[in-house]
C-alpha cells in the first residue's frame, strides 16, 4: 500500500502509520513465526518428556515383576533358603493380608468421619468451618511421616504425662491403621465437601420445603445425590492409603506369617517393597518388583475403577 504524494497536501499520519506497521510486521514476520513454531514445538516435547518416566516405570514393573506372579506368590508366606530348599522364596500373602487389615480398619473409621466432616463443611459457613477447611488442606499437604511419629507416640509407646495415661501397646497393625486413617480423613473431607456442594441448592431446598428436618434431608436427599462424587473421593483416598509407606515404617513392626489380629505386629505391601528393595540380597531386591507391580496394579484399578464407577452411576440415574 503506497501513499500517494500530492503536492501541497501534508501526509496523512494514519496512512503513514499504516505503512509503517505493514513494513515492520512484514519484516519481523518470519522470525516471529519461527520462534512461535519452535516454542510450541518445545511444549510438545515437554509433554513427551513428562510421559517418558511413566512408561519407563510401567515397563520396568512389568518386565521385572510379572515373572514373580504365581499362585505361590499370592498365597504363601515368605520362606527363607535352607538346607532343605536352597531356592525357597515363598510369597507375600502376609503382606497382602496385612495391608488389607491395616487399610481396612483405617478406612472403617476414616470414611464416616471424613464424610460427616465434609458434610459439615458443605453446610456451614461459620468461622470454625473455614478454619477447619484450612486445617484439612494443610494436613493433606503434610509429609505422611509425621503421622507415623504421631502414631508411634500415641499408640506404640503410649503416653504418661500430665495425668493422662495411654498405655502403649508396642508395635501393632492398629497403630498403622491409626496413622493411615488420620491421613485419609482430611483427603476425604475435602473431596466430600466438593461432592456435596455440587448438589444443586434447589434439591436441598425442595426437601426442606416439604418440612423435613435438616438431618433427614441430608441423609435421604443430599448424600444419595452426591453419591458418585463421594464414592470417587473415598476410592481415591483409599488408593492413596494403600501405597503409603512412611506412616507405617516403624509402627507396625514386622511379621513373616499371616496375621489377622491388628494388635499384633503385621506386614504390609509398601513396607515389604521398601525392605526388599534396600536389602543386600539380590533375590529379595528382585522380588520387590513383583510386589510393586501388584501394588501399582491395585492402585490403578482403584483409581480408574472409581472414575468409571462414578460415571456409570451418573448415567444410571438419568
Amino acid at each position: 500500500m503506497s501513499t500517494t504524494v500530492i503536492e501541497g497536501v501534508p501526509p496523512d499520519p494514519i496512512l503513514e502509520r499504516r505503512e509503517l506497521v505493514q513494513r515492520v510486521a512484514r519484516k519481523t514476520l518470519d522470525r516471529r513465526v519461527l520462534v512461535s513454531r519452535a516454542m510450541v514445538g518445545l511444549c510438545g516435547v515437554a509433554l513427551l518428556v513428562a510421559l517418558v518416566p511413566l512408561f519407563a516405570i510401567l515397563y520396568s514393573l512389568v518386565d521385572k515383576g510379572v515373572r514373580w506372579w504365581s499362585v505361590t506368590f499370592f498365597t504363601k508366606v515368605p520362606q527363607f533358603p535352607s538346607l532343605i530348599d536352597p531356592n525357597a522364596i515363598g510369597g507375600i500373602s502376609n503382606a497382602i493380608i496385612g495391608s488389607l487389615v491395616i487399610d481396612g480398619i483405617a478406612a472403617l473409621f476414616a470414611i464416616p468421619i471424613g464424610v460427616i466432616a465434609g458434610l459439615f463443611l458443605a453446610e456451614s459457613d461459620s468461622k470454625f468451618a473455614s478454619g477447619l477447611r484450612t486445617t484439612a488442606e494443610i494436613m493433606t499437604g503434610l509429609p505422611s511421616i509425621l503421622l507415623g511419629i504421631f502414631a508411634y507416640q500415641m499408640i506404640v509407646i503410649g503416653f504418661n504425662e500430665w495425668g493422662i495415661k495411654l498405655p502403649g501397646i508396642g508395635f501393632a497393625g492398629i497403630a498403622g491403621s491409626f496413622a493411615i486413617g488420620v491421613l485419609m480423613i482430611p483427603v476425604i473431607m475435602k473431596a466430600s465437601e466438593t461432592a456435596l456442594r455440587g448438589v444443586p441448592a434447589t434439591i436441598r431446598e425442595a426437601g426442606l420445603a416439604l418440612g423435613a428436618r435438616r438431618g433427614v434431608v441430608a441423609r435421604k436427599v443430599v448424600i444419595p445425590t452426591a453419591l458418585p462424587g463421594l464414592i470417587t473421593a473415598v476410592l481415591l483416598a483409599f488408593s492413596r492409603a494403600v501405597g503409603e509407606t512412611a506412616p507405617i515404617l516403624w509402627v507396625i513392626g514386622a511379621s513373616n506369617i499371616i496375621e489377622w489380629n491388628p494388635r499384633k505386629e503385621m506386614a504390609s505391601m509398601p513396607l515389604e517393597i521398601f525392605q526388599s528393595a534396600t536389602s543386600p540380597y539380590v533375590s529379595l531386591r528382585d522380588e520387590a518388583w513383583g510386589i510393586a507391580l501388584f501394588l501399582v496394579f491395585l492402585v490403578l484399578v482403584l483409581n480408574l475403577g472409581s472414575r468409571l464407577f462414578a460415571a456409570w452411576l451418573q448415567r444410571e440415574r438419568r
Binding site: 435438616r214 444419595p224 488408593s239 509398601p270
Partner: protein, 326 residues
C-alpha cells in the same frame, strides 16, 4: 434425581405439614448439627493433639542442644550432637533440583495439553499424567534405586563430569545414589502435580482473550506468552508452591536414593540427607534422646511444609485441586 426427592417426599408425607415444621425448627435440627459439630470437633481435636505430640516429643532435644539444633553443622547420633544445618541444606538442594526441571517442563506440558493437543487426545494425555501422580512413592524409590541409580553411576554422572571437567558441583566420584538422583526422582514425582494444576489455571483463561490477541496479528506463542500465561499466573504460582511443599516432605523415595549422609554434600554426586529421609531412616534404633532429636527435625519439617502449603492453597483453584489429585 427426582426419584430421590420423591421418596423423601413420601417418607415425609405421612406427617402433617404443621408438625413437620415444628420439628424442623426444634430439636430435630440440633441432633443433626450435634453430630456434625461433634465429628468435626473430633477431627479438630485429633489435629491439635497431633501437633502437640510432635512438638512435645522434641522438647528433650531442644533442652539438650538449644537453637544449635537448627544452625549446628554436625549431626551425629554416635556423639549425641545434633546440628541440622546440613540436613536442611540437603532438603533445600533436592527440592531446588526437582523444581529446576519440573517448572519449565511442567508448564510447557500444561500449555501443550490445553493449546496444542487436539481435543480428543487431551483427556487421555491428562489422565496419563495424573496416573503418574497415583504411583506410590515407594515404587518411585524402587525404580530410582534399582534402575536409575546404576544408570547414573555408569553413564550420566561420568558424562556430566567429563562435560564440566569435574568442576563444582560435579566433582565427587560418581556413586549413583546421590543428591542429584534424589533431585531427579523428586522431579518426576512433583511433575504431575504442576502439570495438573497449571493445566487448570491455563484452561480457565477465556478463549475470547486468546482470539482477541490473535486478531491483532499475534503469533500463537506470543498469545501464550503475553496473554495466557500472565492470565494463569496465580494458579501456576500456586501449583509451584504446592509442588515445593510436596518435594520438601517426600520421605520414602528420597530415603531410598539419597544415601543418608548427614554431612554437607560437597557436590551433586555425593550422598546427602533430607529432613524427612533422616527421620525415616534413623528412627529404628534411636535412643529416646535421639528420638527427640528426630522429633525436632519433624517440627522443622512440619513448620516448613505447613507454611508453604498454606501459601499455595490460597492461590490455587480448579478441578484437579478439587478432585483431590493434589
Amino acid at each position: 434425581m427426582s426419584e430421590v426427592t420423591a421418596s423423601a417426599a413420601l417418607a415425609m408425607s405421612d406427617r402433617p405439614l404443621a408438625e413437620n415444621r415444628k420439628r424442623f425448627s426444634a430439636r430435630g435440627d440440633s441432633a443433626h448439627w450435634g453430630v456434625l459439630y461433634g465429628v468435626s470437633g473430633l477431627f479438630a481435636l485429633i489435629c491439635a493433639v497431633f501437633i502437640i505430640s510432635i512438638v512435645v516429643s522434641s522438647i528433650p532435644a531442644w533442652r539438650h542442644s538449644g537453637l544449635s539444633l537448627i544452625y549446628g553443622r554436625v549431626w551425629s547420633q554416635g556423639s549425641d550432637s545434633f546440628g541440622a544445618l546440613p540436613i536442611i541444606a540437603g532438603t533445600l538442594a533436592t527440592t531446588a533440583i526437582a523444581l529446576f526441571f519440573a517448572i519449565p517442563i511442567g508448564i510447557g506440558c500444561a500449555l501443550a495439553i490445553v493449546h496444542v493437543i487436539p481435543g480428543r487426545l487431551r483427556i487421555i494425555l491428562s489422565s496419563l499424567v495424573e496416573l503418574l501422580a497415583a504411583v506410590p512413592s515407594v515404587v518411585y524409590g524402587l525404580w530410582g534405586l534399582l534402575v536409575i541409580a546404576p544408570w547414573f553411576e555408569k553413564t550420566v554422572e561420568p558424562d556430566l563430569a567429563d562435560i564440566t571437567g569435574s568442576r563444582f558441583p560435579f566433582q565427587s566420584p560418581p556413586e549413583g545414589v546421590s543428591l542429584l538422583l534424589a533431585g531427579c526422582v523428586l522431579f518426576v514425582m512433583v511433575l504431575p502435580m504442576i502439570v495438573a494444576l497449571s493445566r487448570d489455571a491455563i484452561a480457565i483463561v477465556p478463549h475470547d482473550q486468546f482470539e482477541g490477541a490473535l486478531s491483532v496479528g499475534a503469533t500463537k506463542w506470543q498469545v501464550l506468552r503475553k496473554v495466557v500465561l500472565p492470565g494463569a499466573r496465580t494458579g501456576i504460582v500456586g501449583a509451584i508452591t504446592l509442588a515445593t511443599a510436596r518435594a520438601l516432605g517426600e520421605t520414602v523415595a528420597v530415603a531410598m536414593v539419597i544415601g543418608l549422609n548427614p554431612l554437607f554434600p560437597p557436590s551433586l554426586f555425593s550422598t546427602a540427607s533430607t529432613l524427612a529421609s533422616t527421620i525415616a531412616l534413623q528412627f529404628q534404633d534411636a535412643t529416646p534422646l535421639q528420638v527427640a532429636a528426630l522429633g525436632a527435625l519433624a517440627v522443622i519439617l512440619m513448620a516448613l511444609t505447613a507454611v508453604v502449603n498454606w501459601f499455595g492453597r490460597r492461590l490455587v483453584r480448579g478441578t484437579a485441586f478439587r478432585a483431590g489429585v493434589v
